[in-house]
Structures are given as C-alpha cells and as structure tokens.
C-alpha cells in the first residue's frame, strides 16, 4: 500500500520536474528579451528611440548613438549573402539528391596491380556519404576560422586587387564569407525538404515524357517549395547574427553600404568591438545593449516567420475562363532550361567542395608546420605561446555546460515525447520557443550572460558555462527527442505489461535504448561549445595571450579563453599568425574527429535496425 503510493508520488514529482525542464526554454527566451530590454532602456530614454534607430552617427566619446548605418549594413550584407549562398546551397542540395552518383565508375584494365587496387578502392567509396560529411564539416568549422580564411585568402589574396583603394575588405568580402557560412544550413535543410517529396510525383512526371531534369525542376522542386523557403529563412537568421567571421572581414567602420568595397560595421560587429572597453553602467554600455536588442528583435521576427510559410499548396485565386479556339496542337521536344539548371547544380556542388578544400588546405599548409609539443601542451615553464591554458578552459566549459545542460535537455525531451499529448497547444508553444532559442545569435547570448551570469559569478568559466547551457539546450532537446521517438512503442508496452511504472519504464527501457541518440547530442554539443566564441568573450572572458597561464586557468572561478577565443585574440592583438594557424589546425582536427564520431554512432544505429 505504502509502496504503491510512494511510486505514485515519484511518478508525479518526476512529471513536474520534466515539465519544469521543458518550460525552461520559454523562461530563457523571455529572460533574454527582458534582461536586454531592461539594460537598453537608459539608452532608448536618453537618446530617444527613433533617434537611436534612425540616427546615423555613433560616437561614444560624445554619447551620440544612432544605428541606421549599421542596421542597413546588416540588412544589405544579409540579403546579398542569402542570394549568393541560397542559390549555391539550394542547387547543391538538388545535385546531392538527384545527380550525385553513388560511386565512382572508374575502369582500369592495365597491368599495374597497385593502380588496380586503387581503382577498386576508389570505386568502393560512397560519394553521397562523403558529400554529406563535407556539408556537416563545413557546418562545424568555427566561425573564427572562416574569418581567418576570409581575411587572409579572400581579402588579401584576391579582393584587394579588385578594390581601387587596395583594401579588399568591406561589403563584398563579408557577403562571400557569410554565404559560405550559411551554405551548410541551407543545403542540409533543402535536402531534407527535397527528400520528403513523395517519389510518386517524380515518377508521374517521368511517365509523361519528362526528362529527369524537367521532372526535378518542374515538379519536385515546386513541391518542396515551403521547406526550401524555411531553409532560406533560417539561413537569413544565421547570417544576421554572425559575429566573429564578419568582424574580421567587414572593416569595422560605420558607413552606409554604398559600394562593394566600402568598409562597414554590421550590428554584431559594433557590439563585439566595443563591449570589451565599455565602462559598466555607462550610457555606452546601454547603447550597445540596445543595439543587441534591435538585433534580437530582427532575428526573432525572422525565425518566427518560418511558422507562417504555408505548408501546402494553395490554388491561385480567381477563376480562369476557358476560351477554346486553339488550332492543331504540335507537341515539340523541349527542356533546355532544366538541362541548364542541372549543370548549375553540378557547378554549385563543385563550388562547395572547392571552398571546403580551400579552407582545409589553407589551414593545414599554414598550421601543421607550427604545431609542436610545447605549443600544444607546454605549461607555464614554456617561453612561447602555448595552448595548454586554452585547452584547460575549453575542457572546463564543456564539462560544466554538459553537467547542467544534459539533465535539463533530456528532461525536456522526455516531457515532450513521453508525457505531452502530441500536437497539443502547450507542446507547440514549447517547440516554438525551442526553435526561437536556437535562432538567437550567439552575441546576444553573450550579452545576456554578461548581464546575468557575470553579475553572479564574475567573469569566469562558470559564467561562460551557464551561458553555453542556453546555447546548446535546443540541440540537446532536439536530438534526444529524435532518439526517443525512434524507440519502438512495443518496448514501452512490454514494460507496462510487466507492471512497471511510467518513470521506471522511461529510465530502464526507453532511455537506454535511446542512448546512441543522446550520445550524438553530447558530441554535437561539444562541437558547438568548441566552435563558439562570441557568446564566451564577455562571459568566460578573453585573456590577453601573454597573460594566460595554466596556473590561472586551472581554477574555474577565474576568467579564461577557450580555443576559439584564444585564436581570435591572436588576430585581435595582431601578434602571432603562426600560432593562430596552428590553433586553427587543432580546431579543425577536433571538428573532424567529432563529425567522425557522430557518423559512426549513427551508422551503428542504422545497422542495428
């Protein structure tokens, strides 16, 4: 009797706990909005809201704040980047789904044994998987590395010669870097949308005498329209919020974007440039918060607008009055445009592969020669720069973030998948907030962390970790939820059938069989934490390269730079390019290894099923 009632109490209290976890994302979004709004009120009051929005000058020495030029820069750069990246991304996805061959079909009948083996080996490679991994790798590369690539290769290696003023940075450089950065998002989402189109549409078009290209571009592509639009919108959100890479190639001067080589200063860049030197409590600080608030509102509008993309085809309005009277109809062979579009797909896919190859080559060539044992792990005794403190800080941030975020994220996922009624309003609201949270730019997370966690813990690893919890929460919830959904209902029924309580079923049956999915979530989160920089600079801190030491980094209540922040400070201080390249190489290797781990976990799961 008592046992039964205690189980009941346990079940109910567990349910309440899970609900609390799920509501946390709502709290987080509101918290971010409220804190940043509250901090920006002084600026809005002193400067005047419209003066702030439409003023064209920004000078913190005279306390004049107007963001119009920066807002325009952000918008123009985003639009151009989404056009460029959107076209390339969508066409790459089309190529991947419809034309990417499974394997090489190389033939070699010569006598050389070695070549024969090589050919056989090459023919075994699954090209689609490789392409998939290329996109994932591009998505995982930290933005600081994109920034380096942009400034060194793109700007100094190419654009500088096209710029009449021999600078090279500015609008065009920013657009190109942003375009490369949003391609993975757009490609993978477009790919999902295209794959979700029923195969019957494709077959139906072929059966009417369409060529493959005609069927793809006239039926399948329009049918995937809503998914592709969502992909583009998310790409826009990503481009608006990008900070570090943009900062390195934009030029950082407040100008209206009137030409391709005008140095500009998008909203994110302004915040990032001046937050470091801001006097706490000043109007300047409030003005930067207000800039962050404008950015946040912009991104919220963009992310939320995804919900309004019509999911299904709606017929055009108005009725068409038929008037017969066509003469004898002649059917001709047509279809040149789709054929051309097909080749566009191939070219775009080629561009993506080449960009990745260029980035990897650039980092490897410059980075590998500068790797040494002492550089990686040399302690305080080593005279030169060493990554050891950064490794330590990164490790701490990862551990503390995961300790906090995992239970919360898994709890929320359990509520969404095991307790909530699917499709209920409450679930929809929570989902919307999770999506919103995942769309918030990392610099805004940084501002929030600065306002809340830094006040509590001081600038420290703890403040950084708490901020990162919010950043990775959506990732954890989503991947865990996916894993839970894949657990067959029969398993749960079997457990209930034996008289197990719900909570016991979840912990003993459901969670263990969802473990690979949760492991994937952990690895993805680690990747996100490692590549993050904008959210960490004002929370965990950015140490001057010279003053970072293992003895200081060993204590998590101290401030410290993670790897990406460390790499950024090499750039910001303009000191040691060799070390920056070497750090980039280390980051690249870590990203690659993490991707590989995810790949193998997922492959194993697939095999089991």
């Amino acid at each position: 009797m008592t046992k039964a009632s205690s189980t009941k109490v346990k079940d109910t209290s567990a349910k309440v706990l899970f609900i609390v976890c799920a509501c946390l994302s709502i709290l987080a979004v509101f918290g971010i909005i409220c804190y940043i709004l509250a901090a920006s009120i002084p600026a809005f009051r002193e400067v005047g809201f419209f003066q702030f929005l439409f003023g064209t000058r920004w000078n913190h020495n005279t306390d004049t704040y107007g963001i119009l030029a920066m807002l325009c820069s952000t918008l123009v750069v985003t639009v151009l980047a989404v056009i460029l990246g959107g076209v390339i991304g969508v066409f790459t996805a089309i190529f991947m789904v419809f034309w990417c061959p499974d394997r090489f079909h190389l033939r070699y009948s010569g006598p050389n044994k070695f070549v024969q083996k090589m050919v056989a080996w090459l023919n075994k490679i699954n090209l689609r998987t490789i392409f998939d991994q290329i996109i994932k790798l591009l998505a995982g590369i930290p933005s600081v590395i994109y920034g380096y690539f942009g400034i060194i290769v793109l700007v100094q290696g190419g654009l500088v010669y096209m710029d009449p003023n021999y600078r090279g940075y500015g609008v065009l450089a920013t657009c190109i870097v942003l375009a490369i950065m949003i391609i993975p998002t757009i490609t993978s989402l477009t790919k999902n949308a295209l794959e979700a189109v029923p195969a019957q549409y494709f077959e139906g078009a072929l059966a009417m005498g369409n060529t493959k290209a005609q069927a793809v571009f006239r039926v399948v592509f329009p049918a995937a329209r809503s998914g592709i639009i969502s992909a583009l919108i998310l790409g826009i959100g990503r481009a608006v919020g990008e900070t570090m890479a943009v900062q390195m190639v934009a030029g950082g001067m407040v100008n209206f974007p009137t030409g391709l080589f005008i140095p500009i200063c998008p909203l994110t860049v302004k915040i990032n440039m001046e937050m470091g030197e801001v006097v706490p409590g000043s109007l300047h600080e409030s003005a930067l918060m207000a800039t962050g608030f404008v950015l946040l509102v912009l991104v919220l509008i963009i992310t939320l607008s995804v919900n309004f993309v019509p999911k299904e085809f709606k017929g055009k309005k108005g009725t068409r009055v038929l008037q017969g009277g066509g003469e004898n109809v002649v059917y001709r062979k047509k279809g040149l445009i789709p054929e051309i579009l097909k080749y566009c797909g191939m070219v775009c896919a080629g561009i993506v592969v080449i960009s990745l190859a260029a980035i990897i080559l650039f980092i490897c060539i410059n980075g590998i020669p500068n790797i040494s044992w002492n550089f990686l792990f040399g302690g305080d005794g080593y005279e030169g720069h060493s990554l050891a403190p950064a490794f330590l800080t990164t490790f701490y941030v990862i551990i503390f973030t995961l300790i906090i975020a995992l239970p919360l994220g898994i709890g929320a996922a359990i509520f969404l998948n095991e307790y909530a009624k699917p499709g209920s309003k409450f679930v929809k609201v929570i989902r919307t907030f999770i999506d919103t949270l995942s769309g918030v730019p990392s610099i805004v997370f940084g501002l929030f962390g600065y306002l809340l966690f830094v006040q509590i813990f001081g600038r420290s690893v703890f403040a950084g970790a708490f901020t990162m919890v919010l950043v990775i929460l959506p990732t954890i919830i989503r991947s865990t939820e996916e894993a839970l959904r894949a657990v067959p209902m029969e398993l749960r029924e079997a457990s209930y059938g034996l008289g197990a309580s719900k909570i016991r079923t979840i912990f003993k049956v459901v969670l263990p069989s969802a473990f690979p999915g949760i492991a994937t979530a952990i690895v993805l989160s680690v990747g996100r934490i490692i590549s993050e920089s904008a959210a960490l600079i004002y929370t965990a801190g950015m140490m001057a390269v010279a003053s970072s030491s293992v003895s200081s980094a060993i204590d998590p209540t101290n401030a410290g730079s993670t790897l990406t922040v460390f790499m950024y400070s090499f750039f910001a201080e303009g000191l040691a390019y060799e070390e920056a390249y070497a750090t980039a190489f280390v980051l690249l290797v870590i990203t690659f290894v993490l991707n590989l781990i995810v790949y193998f976990i997922q492959k194993r799961v697939k095999k089991k099923r």
Binding site: Y201, G204, A205, V219, P222, K316
Partner: protein, 287 residues
C-alpha cells in the same frame, strides 16, 4: 563478384543516359511512331532481370489496337514489371536488364537511340496510387503540354477542356480548375491523372492497378471511362480484380512466376481456359 554486378548495372544505366543525351542534341519530332498496324504493342522473347533474379521469362504477346488488354495473376508474377517495361519506367530501377524486343508503333523501344520522352508521350501511364502533382487542377493537366513546348493560353485551355471532357470530369471540375488537385477525392484524383495522361495525346495508356486504392463507386466510374476511352487509345491494364478483368477487357493474359501462361479473348480465358493453372487461379478466386 559484387563489384562485377554493380559495373553491369552501371553499364545499362550509362547507355540509357547516353542515348538520352544524344537525342537531346538533335531537334526531334515526337511522332516517331507509326501506329497504322493492327497491333499496338508486340512483345517478343522478353526476358527481364533484376540483378541475378529473372523476373520475366520469354514473354511473347500481342496487344491489338483500340482494345483493352488485362493482365492478371497472383502477386509477384511479373505483371506490374511487364507493364513498366512498356514505357521503360523500369529504367529507374537499378540493376534492371532487359533482353528481347518490345515493338511499339513499328519501333523496338529498347533500341539504342529511342527517345524516352517521345516514347512516354505516346505511351501514357496511370499509377496504382493517384499521384496528382501539388498544383491546381488546370496546372496538372497543362503540365504535360507545357513541357512539350505549348505555351499559348488558348491552346492550353483547349487541351485542358478536351482532356477533362475525355475523362468525363469536365462538369465536375470546370468550376474548380484553380483549386489544388490534392483537395479532390481519391477517385477524382485518379481520373484527373488519367486526364493528365491524355493531355499529351498518347496512343497507348498503361494502367497499373488503377482502382486498387479506390471505393467501388469510383472504380465503376473508371471502368466506364476505360470503355469510353478505348475508341481513341489502346489500354493495357494490370488488375487484381478478376471481375474487373472479366467486365471490361477484350483480351486477358494470365501470368504466373514470371511466365505468361495463357493469353486470349477474355470470354474464352474466363469460360474455358486452356491451361489448368489458369483455371485453378480463376476458379479459386471466384469460388
């Protein structure tokens, strides 16, 4: 061994692709077929393989013009496979290999250099599950003509009207031409698919179990429609429904395990089948 198989598959794919590309370079007329003979389709010594597995064995049959030929047989007997070879939809299946001849309008459609677009324009297909495109009714029907270069509104309107009338749907749909085709009922969707196939003026219509996903009333409508349509087109139909074959077809072919056991006038096949297996199948189904 494994690699070998894949190479083979690659080769057949390769030739199909190559021949496609070759044709697209020349300006082609789509009327390469000559349907003046008595038989719309002649199949000669057809073998079909999926990799190692032989799905069709030495099929020989003739399908007369302006008649309905029904293909019956238990699941997995190869009748759907056969109907898909008639407009080369099997090209989509990896590892599918065809030996033998299928002669349509005087041409062996498996010859190198046969234009797939021209073939499929002349040999339309209706699938088991209705598959209207996610567009309006009008755009669904105008889809085929548009891809064959017809852009003038007047011409398109005429084609849409004619095809819908041919499919006996004009009165039902004339006021909802601009509504999404996905909003129609299953039976309407299937008839719309028939109208869509008719819009490019095919000589032959292939139907792969066109009524198996529909209710009896819609099925009846489609059967009526077939009777009506055979004035203008030759129909080849796969069906699981024995009564349907008996009701509407002129010729019936019975398949078992990849072989054609018997083919003849429908009345004869159903009343006095020559083959004991045919009899067993038919009576088994009826009794």
């Amino acid at each position: 061994m494994n690699i070998f198989k894949k190479k083979e598959a690659a080769q057949t794919e390769g030739t199909a692709e190559e021949s496609k590309q070759k044709k697209e370079k020349k300006p082609v007329t789509l009327d390469i077929f000559d349907f003046s003979g008595d038989n719309a389709i002649t199949v000669r010594d057809l073998d079909l393989f999926y990799g190692e597995f032989q799905a069709l064995k030495k099929i020989n049959m003739e399908m007369p013009k302006y008649q309905i030929t029904a293909m019956i047989g238990p699941s997995g007997c190869g009748k759907s496979t056969l109907i898909k070879t008639l407009n080369r939809m099997n090209d989509l299946v990896e590892g599918c290999r065809v030996v033998g001849e299928i002669i349509i309008g005087g041409l062996n459609i498996y010859d190198r250099g046969v234009d797939l677009s021209a073939l499929r324009k002349n040999v339309g297909m209706v699938f088991q599950k209705p598959n209207p495109f996610p567009m309006s009714v009008y755009d669904n029907i105008a889809y085929g003509p548009r891809t064959f270069g017809i852009r003038k509104k007047g011409e398109l309107d005429e084609i849409v009207e004619r095809s819908l009338k041919q499919a006996a749907m004009w009165d039902e749909l004339k006021d909802r031409l601009n509504k999404s085709a996905l909003g129609l009922s299953g039976g309407q969707q299937q008839r719309l698919c028939i109208a869509r196939a008719l819009a490019v003026g095919p000589q032959i219509l292939l139907m792969d179990e066109p009524t198996s996903a529909l209710d009896p009333i819609s099925t009846g409508k489609i059967e009526e429609l077939c009777e009506e349509l055979k004035k203008d087109v030759t129909i080849v139909m796969v069906t699981h429904n024995m009564q349907q074959a008996a009701r509407i077809s002129d010729k019936t072919a019975f398949f078992l395990l990849g072989e054609m056991i018997e083919m003849g006038d429908t009345e004869q096949v159903f009343s006095e089948p020559k083959h004991p297996e045919t009899e067993r199948y038919i009576t088994g189904r009826f009794g």
